[in-house]
Symmetry: C2
Subunit: 304 residues, 2 copies
């Protein structure tokens, strides 16, 4: 779209993909061009948010920034009536529980802040510009330290009583004892990177390609995909996150899902067109934050 630059006014947005390890911050143009980007370690709210402000404030002197989009680790409060609307709630992440992150950033940067969960943001990014374009129903799942997902229905982030968690789905497993402190062997307690590490008593990234851990992992994630297919029937299930970097895992999941479904559903297309990797690579969350900043979500504070 750069050919339109001469005639079309471009807007600029602040975007943050706020994760438990790092805050990925960028100034992004309407056309998804990243003007400037930085990564800030997630330490304490005071330290991290100070660095976020220090990154964006000088840019505000140079550019008219319309708003800030925040795709945030959570749980994040999406209850408009709540005092902590837009804030992080009960996270186990040290220092961050009950942090009114959206209000603080809105006040310090004097910007409207539009927010949602990190995975909802990533799902929206993939819907607008990635693997989930033109779908009626799409799911984005990250399998990393934790396991969570977001759902897009008819172009909108799905919100019921809270934002979807997805990780805590109950599935059949041959494992006797999972590692979720709430549910033991729910998906999160079996298939997150953290839980895999505990199951096999070694860090997930040190499990070699032929380790039996991967077939078990494929089986667990395939049960999850099976359950999504029989309930939501999404056109796309996008699997991202660190654990999915393992080559051949995606293929194993696709095969295991087909085996489980046993041709029960007539999906009208091959499974490898449904269960896919993110098309935006590592940028799903950041571009999702851009989409939120552009008002394509439904939660915000400090609106003009």
């Amino acid at each position: 779209m750069t050919e339109n630059l001469g005639t079309t006014k471009m807007n600029y947005y602040a975007a943050i993909e706020a994760g438990g390890t790092k805050f990925n911050c960028a100034l992004i143009r309407d056309d998804q061009h990243i003007v400037k980007q930085t990564r800030i370690a997630t330490t304490t709210p005071e330290q991290t948010l100070n660095q976020v402000v220090d990154f964006f404030q000088p840019l505000q002197a140079q550019y008219t920034i319309e708003s800030l989009g925040l795709a945030c680790f959570g749980p994040i409060c999406l209850d408009k009536q709540a005092e902590n609307y837009g804030g992080i709630t009960t996270t186990p992440k040290p220092h961050w529980a009950n942090t009114p992150i959206s209000r603080q950033l809105s006040k310090r940067l004097n910007l409207p802040v539009f927010f949602d969960s990190d995975v909802n943001g990533a799902a929206l990014g993939e819907y607008l510009w990635g693997a989930a374009q033109q779908t009626n129903v799409a799911v984005y799942v990250t399998i990393g330290t934790g396991l969570g997902g977001g759902i897009i229905v008819n172009g909108q982030i799905l919100h019921g009583l809270h934002h979807p968690e997805m990780g805590h789905m109950l599935i059949p497993s041959s494992v006797e004892q999972g590692h979720c402190p709430f549910h033991g062997g729910c998906l999160e307690g079996l298939a997150s990177g953290t839980s895999m590490g505990k199951l096999w008593q070694q860090p997930t990234q040190t499990l070699d390609d032929t380790h039996e851990a991967w077939q078990l992992q494929a089986d667990h994630v395939a049960s999850f995909c099976h359950n999504l297919l029989v309930t939501l029937a999404p056109e796309k299930i996008i699997l991202g996150g660190g654990v999915m970097q393992k080559s051949s895992l995606l293929t194993m999941i696709i095969e295991a899902t087909q085996t489980k479904l046993a041709n029960y559903l007539n999906l009208g297309r091959p499974m490898q067109e449904i269960i896919v990797e993110p098309a935006l690579d590592q940028a799903s969350g950041l571009l999702g934050a851009l989409a939120l900043a552009q008002g394509k979500g439904r939660h915000g504070i400090g609106l003009k």
Copy 2:
């Protein structure tokens, strides 16, 4: 709404809740008043549809019927490009596979026919006039001979690659061998009325109130509710169907779901406000067919 009768023109619609056992047919007014109703046994397509036509044709002489709404047992084809759009596809119900039911009724009654699955219809009925009013996300599930459900998101029936089935969700269970021909111990193979009967080797309706079958049934359905809550977070999960007629089963399911969730989710309201019985009693499907006839679904043929 009868007080408006003098000033407001009322429209009349033909509505059919087409089930595997009977076709529930009615002439219904805009204000949900049922003018005339009949039940026709589901035998062969020829015989049953002849009786349906014989019921509606005389009414067409008396009333201007706008359209026919059909909430139909399935699977029903919802692919607009398919030759069998609006037809029953691969049902195991004898005689009914590949029946172009919507086209036949449209042609014989000379009416536009709006259709969807029976449970999607019931979900829409409950959304408009029953237990799911003013929800963002609601699920209607019937647990009877089979087990299936529909989802309403932002007032619309959810459709992805196909209509949701929901019954075939994989859940943990202590039962070694379930009775789904495709998946063995999926929810359908454990908790439908048919599967319960096979598990306990006696008809479900003869299991007395103290039989251990009911606690196991509550446990299975609670895993399903747990999984819906962590994925879709619906404001309402409406449990209908013959098996749910068992007194105290609903309460047992609510308690088992709470136990399983282990306070992980902050739902902001008691579980008995979320997991509920249908508010329209036996009429969810028929009123859902009215809603379809009124154009509140998204599938139809022979449109004016």
